[in-house]
Every structure is written in C-alpha cells, then in structure tokens.
C-alpha cells in the first residue's frame, strides 16, 4: 500500500492542473513544492517593501479555456483584467498599437493594416491545425497504435482542409525565420519587430534564426486555445497559483509547500516515491514531475538511475534562454512620451527594428552584455492598486537578451546592467529615473536559483524543432511517460511546452489515467 496514488513534483500551474485532473478521477494525489507559495513561475513577490510584482511570468494569454472551466478557476478566485492591447513604443513617439487583428499608428499605411489582418488570419489557420496536436499526446510516428493514428489522421485532415495553397504556405513557413516572413508581409519596421518580439520571447534566438516562425505559431496556438486575449492577473501572477491550488484542494489534492524534494526514489527498476530533504520518504504508485527535464532527470532522479543513452539525451537537452526581468518601484506613475494614462496600463514593448534585434542578441552568444535590449513592459499597479502603496506604482519588464553567465560575472554585471536597462527605458519615459525608489534585476541565473528552471529557461527547454511535439523533451521519454517506469512528466518540458498553456499538465493527467498505471 503506497502513501499516494500519485505524487506530483512542483506546484507550478502544470503540476496543479495535472494533480487536479488526477484527483477528479478519484486518485489520491500529493503535490509537493520547495517554494512556500503555489504557482511556480506564476508567482507574485514583494521585491521591495510594499511593492509587489509578478516576478516571473507576466501575462496570461495562453491558458487553455477548457482548463479554466474544468477547474472552475473563477470560482477559485481568479480575477483577470480586461484584455490588453500591445503598444510598441517608438523613439519618435509614433507608437504602434496592436489590438486583436488590427494595428494602428501614424506610420502604418492601409496596406500594412490589411496585411496584418490577413497575416493574423493565416497564422490562426495554422494554429488550428497545430491545436489538433496540442490537445493530446504527441503521436508516435513508427510504433503503431490507434490513439496516435487517429491524431495523425486528424492532423492530415486538418492539413487537407487548409486547402492546397495554405498547406503549401505552411510547408514553407513551418521551419523558417520570422524575419523573412515579416519582410514578405509588411513594410513598416516597427510592425515587423513587434511581431518578431513575440517569436523570440523566452528563447535564445533572434528573428533571423530559422525556427522562429514555429515559436510564433506556438504562441498563436496557445492564444487560439485560450481565446482570452492577453490579460493581467489581479493580485499578480501568484493569484493564478493560489486559484489553481484552491481548485486542486477542492478536488481533493493534498498540497505540501516549503518541502524540497531531495530525490525521486526507485524500488527495483520502477519509481516508487520521493525522498524529501528532511529524509522523509513518501511512496506512490507513480511520480509525476512538473520540474523541467534537466532538474527531473539530472538532479532528482539522477543519471545513475537511468540507462546511459537516456542520460545522454537528458544531458544534451538544451535550456538556453536569454530572458531576464527588471522590476522598478515608482513613487508615482511615470510618463511615457506620447502615451495617455489608459495606454500606460497596456502591454508596452520596446524593440529596435529586426536587424537591431539581431545585433542585440549577438553579445549573449559570447556571454557578453548587449548595448541594447528588448522590453515587454507592464505597469500592473494601474489596474491593481493592491500591488503598491497608494499613489505609487510598480513597473515590471521582461528583458531580452541577457546571458546566463556573463564573462565579467553577475556580481559586477548586475548593477551595471540594471542602470543600463533603466536608462534604455528612460529614453521613452523621461521621468522614470527620478520616480524610481527601488529596482531589482532578475537574471536567467536568478530564475534558475529561485524558480528551479534550468538555464533560466521559462519554457523548460528551448522550443526548437528538435525539442517540440513528438520530440519533447527527447526521444524515448515522450508522451508524458519517461523511459523510467513509474516516472511521468507534466511540466512545460513535456509537449506542447511552455507559455502558461496548462496543456502539458492536463494532457499528462489524461494519459496517466488512460494508461492505467493508477488502477
């Protein structure tokens, strides 16, 4: 008799979602996490006294809508802002605004406006096809079984339904770079770079890198499945974690926080439970890890517990990511040139034209600090005054591309880069510096330390073609079931990957239930 049917490692969104679905199927489930709060990368933190921010994930745009309803997250306390538009800030204040399928701005001509809506339409067509794959386990191609055959048939049908010309377009686009596609569709450089930013967020790639159309499609597919627009979570992202946790508990899941897992334990040749840092042993029929594959296999299970070929695959799994976060506490609402207060609460991005994005990327490849960065800014305290003292505000920005370990070391680089980043934003918000009362830079290395994501990779591993779909995380451990008996994956390192989709968690639960390991 085991202590639990399933132990889920990690109370991030995927872990909680997976646990909830398992519990709804009447299984006895424990979720365990080393952090004192639920949510994982969906977390809110006080970075300066009385100033709170979403310290990791920033926007909610891809959470699958069936999960939201299945888990009754609204009842569990999840409150979202209204959908945000995206404003790409321009040095000449001729800002470009994206709202759904429309784009506006003084520099955008009608041709680009039309092109934008047809581009969005085309991407959604492809997203629909991809959604077929995202909604279940990724099919195996050679080993024949009916579930996978049906998925492949559905996929084939979806492709055929696209029609010959769109299918040809997809064949061409799937592996290429966003840089070329932008140049094919649009003329306006600000328009191009704003879209390109979405294709490279959370990655180590520049717009010229092949594979960036896929990463863009990944985002669009998530948005298609979520159908919510880009929103801010009231109370910060941590509120999503809290809502998921209370929904899970309502479903009967037991959640232990502040308890670090020391190891995934095996009895004989199958995983049989976990050992906590304090030495406690907890047994279960299966262990489901929502930690990233590297943490799961290398740190928790240990390569010695796997066959060498699989250990090699795990070791070669790539987690490079150039995303950092900058938080600024402000004593008043800053002024952004050319923006009114309503616009300030939207998603604000700053990016040079695409060639400049490439230039901004280059230093990261050599562990150097770039002169220029890309920003995805939120001032959440406008919609949500609970985050800062009255009249004060917090600004939080995703920043690209920041190296994991700069040659000069973070001790020296941290302040240097923080100052530089504030200067870069100040070019668009002249009073920012004078209003700043505190700031904090969270580097990829910090993310690794605080949120246990290897390499600081938000997506739990690069979303490169050889690490997605039926290859995620690596051959031999796909379809949520790993090469080690009794060990499952339900995090973003499993198909379909990161971006607060929630799908790895849900799909994993469904596979586990169907696979019969808990019967």
């Amino acid at each position: 008799m085991t202590d639990y049917d399933a132990i889920v490692i990690g109370a991030g969104h995927n872990g909680l979602i997976c646990a909830s679905y398992l519990a709804k199927a009447k299984h006895k489930v424990l979720v365990i996490d080393s952090r004192p709060v639920p949510g994982g990368c969906a977390s809110t933190r006080e970075f300066a006294e009385n100033y709170r921010v979403s310290d990791c994930a920033q926007w909610l745009s891809q959470l699958d809508k069936t999960i939201v309803s299945d888990l009754q997250l609204s009842d569990a306390g999840l409150v979202l802002s209204s959908p945000k538009s995206t404003i790409s800030l321009q040095p000449d204040a001729a800002h470009v605004t994206f709202d759904g399928d429309t784009v506006t701005g003084t520099s955008i001509d009608t041709e680009d406006v039309t092109a934008y809506s047809s581009f969005r339409l085309q991407m959604r067509r492809f997203a629909k096809v991809l959604a077929t794959l995202y909604n279940g386990r990724p099919p195996k191609l050679v080993e024949k079984n009916w579930t996978d055959r049906i998925t492949l048939l559905k996929l084939g049908l979806g492709l055929k339904l696209l029609g010959k010309s769109h299918m040809q377009d997809l064949m061409r686009l799937a592996l290429i770079n966003i840089y070329d596609v932008m140049n094919e569709y649009f003329k306006n450089p600000a328009l191009k770079s704003a879209i390109a930013l979405d294709a490279v967020t959370g990655s180590n790639m520049g717009p010229r890198s092949p594979n960036t159309v896929f990463s863009y499609l990944h985002k669009v597919t998530g948005e298609f499945l979520s159908d919510s627009g880009t929103r801010q979570v009231m109370g910060g992202m941590g509120a999503l974690g809290t809502a998921l946790a209370s929904s899970a508990e309502a479903a009967g899941v037991e959640i232990k926080l502040g308890c670090a897992v020391k190891a995934i334990k095996k009895t004989g040749h199958a995983v049989s439970g976990i050992e906590l840092v304090d030495g406690t042993l907890l047994s279960s029929k299966i262990v489901v890890s929502s930690a990233d594959p590297t943490t799961t296999f290398k740190s928790m299970l240990g390569y010695a517990q796997m066959e060498a070929g699989m250990a090699k695959r795990a070791e070669l799994y790539r987690n490079r990511c150039g995303t950092a976060k900058l938080h600024i506490a402000l004593k008043a609402l800053p002024t952004f040139t050319g923006l009114n207060q309503a616009q300030l609460s939207q998603r604000l991005i700053i990016t040079p034209p695409m060639d400049g994005m490439e230039t901004a990327l280059n230093p990261m490849k050599y562990n150097e600090i770039s002169d220029q960065h890309l920003f995805d800014i939120s001032i959440p305290s406008i919609d949500d005054p609970s985050l800062s003292p009255e009249g004060h505000h917090v600004l939080s920005a995703l920043v690209h591309y920041v190296p994991f370990s700069p040659k000069m070391g973070w001790d020296e680089a941290r302040q240097l880069l923080t100052d530089q980043l504030i200067d870069e934003i100040s070019a668009y918000a002249p009073d920012l510096k004078s209003l700043a009362v505190a700031s904090e830079l969270v580097t990829p290395a910090d993310f690794e330390k605080t949120h246990h994501v290897t390499g600081g990779s938000w997506h739990h591993g690069e979303l490169s073609i050889d690490q997605v779909l039926m290859m995620r995380p690596f051959p031999g451990s796909t379809q949520y079931k790993t090469a080690v008996e009794g060990l499952y994956l339900c995090g973003a390192g499993a198909h379909p990957g990161g971006g607060l989709l929630g799908l790895p968690g849900r799909n994993a639960a469904k596979e586990i239930i169907k696979g019969g390991a808990l019967v």
Partner: protein, 538 residues
C-alpha cells in the same frame, strides 16, 4: 533557322546536362549562353598568364556518377582527382589535420582529444545514415505532398517508408539532424573546439546562416552526400579546373547533335496563348521552340526573363519570396611559390586539401554576425585550396594557384551597392587572415582576382552571388524547391521548365537538377526516358 525542339537558357552544368539528355532523346536542342564562354559557375579561366582559375565552384564531389558514366564524361575528357583531407590552422601555432586514411585520421584527432577521436566513428556512422537516406532521392523528382495523383502518392509513401524503417528513435534523431544547428549537432559528439570548427565549415559554406542557426546541420549533410569513386563524402579536383566538367558536358551534348550558342543574352521567354514558344534575345534575335528550359535561378527565371502577365500572381509572389542570399565571396590567387602555414612542412599531404583558419565555433559565429550587420566578415571563414598541388595544369611548374572561398560577404554593404573600396577592404580582410598564419604569403602573391557577390552576380548571373541558387533551408528543399507546388521542374507556363540548382536537389555541381528536369520534359513529350536512374546505395 532559329527553330528548335527545345531551348535551354544558360550553359552551366545543369543546362548542358539537361540539353544533353534532351538531345540524346532525339530532340534538336540549343543551349543559349549569355557569356562568350560556357560553364556558368563551372568554369576555368586564364585570368593571369599561365594560371587557370576555377573562379567560381572549385571542387567536385556531388556530380552524380550516374550522369558522369551515362554521358561518358571521362571519354569527353573529364578526370576527377580526389584530394583527401585538409587542415585547420590554429591561433596557437598548431593545426588540426583531417586525413582520408581512417587510422591516420584517428591518430590526428587523438592528438587533440582521444575521446573525440573515438567519437568520430559514431559521428561518421550517424552522418552516413543521413546521407544514405537522402542519396536515393537525388536522381528523382520529389513527390508533391499536396497532390493526390497516384505517382505522387506512391513516391510519397516510399519516401515516408524509408524514414519509418529507421524506427521511432532514429527517425526522431533524423528530424533533429535536419533541423538542428551544425554547432549543436557537433556538440553532441565532440569536445574540442578546433575539431568542431573544422567540421562545422561544411554547414555554412554558401549559406546565409551561422553555425548556431537551426538548419545548418542539413547544409553539412549536403556537402557530405556526394562521392568520388564511391567514397561517400570525398571531394576532388576536376583536372584542368571546374571548366573541365562543363567542357566534357558540352562535348557530350554536342555528340548528340546539340547546338551551343554563346553571346546569346536572353531578354524574355515568348509566351503565346499560355504556351512557351521561344525566347527573344536582348539584341532582338528570336529562337523558337515548343520547349523552353530555364537554367537560371528561380528569381531570374520568373522575375526577369518571364513576363509577369504570363504568370499566375502567386508564382510571382513565390519567386519574390524565394530566399537566395549572397553570403560568400572568392579570391583566386596566383602564387610565385608555396606558402608555409604555421610551420607545417609544405610536403605534408594536408596542404593539398581544404585549408581553414577558423579554429572555434565562436569565430565562425562572429563572422556571421558581421554578415547580419551588412558587412563582410572581418575574421572570415575561409575554405582555401591549392589545386596546383594536385593538378599540374593549373599553374606553371613550381608556381601555385590558390582558390579562397570566403564566408561571409553580404549582397549589399550596409544596404548599398558594393564599391571598389569595399571590395579592397574585403580582399584585405582575407589576405590579412591568411598572412597571420603564413609570414611568406603576401610576398608570393603575383595576381589576385577578388569576387564579391557583386562580381559573381554580374558575371555568372547568380542572384546575389548565391552559389546554390537558393538557400538550402528546409522551406526550399525537396518538394519545397524552389517553391511548394512547383518542385517537379515544370513552370506554370506550358512548355516552360526549370533545370537549375534552384530546383531539387539543389546546388553544388551535381547536374542532377538538369537530368531530373530532362526526365520530366521527356515524360510530358511522351518520349522514351534517356536519363539514368540512381545507383542503389546500400
């Protein structure tokens, strides 16, 4: 009388091959060439008295042996001599040599890392697996995945079967290989930077991507899938320079009664009632034929010599969107004697191979950064050869001819056209790099021909000077080359065909596109096929 059964535009190796197979089938064929000499980018020219330059393509491996044999190219004077090996000279004064002898190669790698030397066998096996997958499709027309025709369905099934037979894991590894960056791919085998850099070169030659760009592992494969006398991956020199290939092909073509017409600069393909009926030259001359085959790259074919009103709008758009990027340049140098690199004895066989100076992936990637920024690489990746060490016809006795392929050079310099000063700067960055490893090099230079993308485009007619007539990225390979829906050598205009390296299986002096296109044309004409099938490769 300017009436023919078929007209081929461009006397490069693919045009000549295409013409040869059409003529062999009994068609009256003319190959039209803009320049006063034939060969296109497969050419040898005496640009300095006594020295012959293979001044575009410079080595041979991919030329399909089926074609060499079928067209009796050896009888027509072609001799391909393998060179085997090569070296990367390192900043620390050492070098990494690549030997064609397996054991010797092992010992040389082991000098740098025993683990890498051992891993090389695994690397060679895995890479051969990939070449074995692709080689059977070089001499075949790619199936159209959007088509429901029995022939396409059957070929597609067969194609899928050959991949499925690998089993789940090897199939996924194959997908990885086809999509990964050459840097990441090599990281799975090797720990030593110079070894990785030496091998990564094949992943970026002729390509507007860096060693860390996804898709470059395939480019490496593209350079490995040829053979010399059955030694897959081996490269050789055509005796007399690359022009010898074009010359032999032209003789084969002429032996079947074909006409080669030089100084014939095609202005437009003439289309009547939706059918190609001939071509008009810039000087007003017209040639008539019910079959017109373009050996120009897809951009020139559809945007330059075809009237847009004769084309469906989507094809014009596709041609505009076709990726064909200038990324390389070339120096051809006449030398008074043999230079010494890093103190390596000039009698060492390595000297006759491909020589490089980029000893780390980072240097190669930084060279690409320069290209992205719109300028030539300040520390370029060079693929340097001294063919006169193998072929005595290239330079006077005791003197040498050096061919230096340079990666990267942009099609335009910071958005503007190349100037002569730019060209000098480009040349200097190459000469300086070589001199860093060879103190006597500069003194030996008697003549240097420098070719930036500007010169290559102007002379050879390769758009942006792209050597493959289109990037070798997956969106432009197999059934996507040049564009989805048009990968079977037929243009949207009846009677008009494509046979250039811009079609499957792509560039590299293979002659396969020319042969494959001929097979499709003969099929449409309901004539017996004259094109040989591929050799079984087991």
């Amino acid at each position: 009388m300017n009436q023919y059964d078929a007209i081929v535009i461009g006397a490069g190796h693919n045009g000549l091959t295409n013409g040869a197979y059409l003529a062999k089938a009994g068609l009256r064929v003319a190959v039209l060439e803009r320049n006063p000499y034939i060969g296109g980018a497969t050419v040898s020219r005496e640009l300095h008295k006594g020295w012959y330059y293979s001044n575009c393509s410079y080595v041979s491996s991919l030329l399909r042996p089926e074609i060499t044999r079928d067209l009796e190219l050896p009888r027509h004077g072609l001799q391909v001599v393998p060179f085997g090996g090569g070296a990367t000279f390192m900043r620390n004064g050492d070098h990494f040599g690549s030997y064609s002898d397996h054991d010797r190669h092992y010992r040389e790698i082991a000098r740098h890392s025993k683990r890498d030397a051992n891993a090389y066998d695994r690397y060679a096996a895995d890479t051969s697996l990939q070449t074995k997958l692709i080689r059977p499709y070089l001499m075949r027309t790619p199936p159209d995945p959007t088509s429901l025709k029995p022939r396409d369905l059957r070929d597609l099934m067969e194609f899928a079967q050959s991949f499925m037979s690998l089993g789940e894991e090897k199939l996924l590894d194959t997908i990885k290989f086809w999509t990964a960056s050459v840097g990441d791919y090599l990281n799975e085998y090797f720990e030593t930077d110079v070894i990785k850099a030496h091998m990564a070169g094949s992943g970026i030659i002729g390509t507007a991507l860096g060693v860390y760009s996804p898709g470059t592992a395939y480019v490496l494969l593209h350079h490995y899938m040829g053979d010399v006398d059955g030694n897959v991956g081996a490269w050789g020199f055509a005796r007399g320079g690359m022009g010898a290939i074009a010359n032999a092909l032209s003789k084969a073509f002429q032996s079947f009664g074909g006409d080669i017409i030089c100084d014939a600069n095609v202005d437009k393909i003439i289309v009547r009632n939706g059918r190609a009926v001939g071509v008009a030259l810039k000087d007003g001359t017209e040639y008539r034929a019910p079959i017109v085959v373009s050996n120009l790259d897809p951009k020139r074919t559809f945007l330059d010599i075809t009237n847009p009103k004769d084309l469906p709008a989507d094809v014009v758009k596709k041609a505009e969107n076709f990726k064909i990027r200038g990324s390389s340049g070339k120096l051809n140098i006449a030398l008074d004697g043999l230079p010494v690199f890093n103190g390596l004895d000039p009698r060492n066989r390595l000297m006759a191979g491909d020589l490089h100076f980029s000893d780390s992936l980072e240097r190669q990637e930084r060279a690409y950064d320069d290209w992205k920024a719109g300028t030539w690489s300040k520390d370029p990746y060079l693929d340097m050869m001294i063919p006169s060490l193998t072929d005595p016809t290239m330079a006077p006795p005791g003197k040498h001819m050096m061919s230096v392929f340079v990666q990267y050079a942009p099609p335009k310099v910071e958005g503007r056209e190349w100037t002569d000063e730019d060209k000098d700067g480009f040349e200097k960055s190459v000469i300086d790099q070589i001199s860093n490893y060879s103190p006597n090099f500069k003194d030996l230079i008697l003549h240097c021909e420098t070719r930036t993308p500007r010169e290559i485009e102007a002379e050879v007619g390769l758009t942006e000077g792209n050597i493959f007539m289109g990037e070798l990225t997956f969106d432009q390979l197999l059934f996507n080359r040049p564009f989805p829906g048009y990968a079977q050598y037929r243009s949207p205009i009846k009677g008009m065909y494509m046979c250039s390296s811009g079609t499957h299986p792509g560039g590299g002096v293979m002659a396969a596109p020319g042969a494959n296109a001929a097979r499709e044309i003969l099929r449409d004409l309901k004539r017996p096929n004259t094109v040989p099938g591929g050799y079984a490769d087991d």
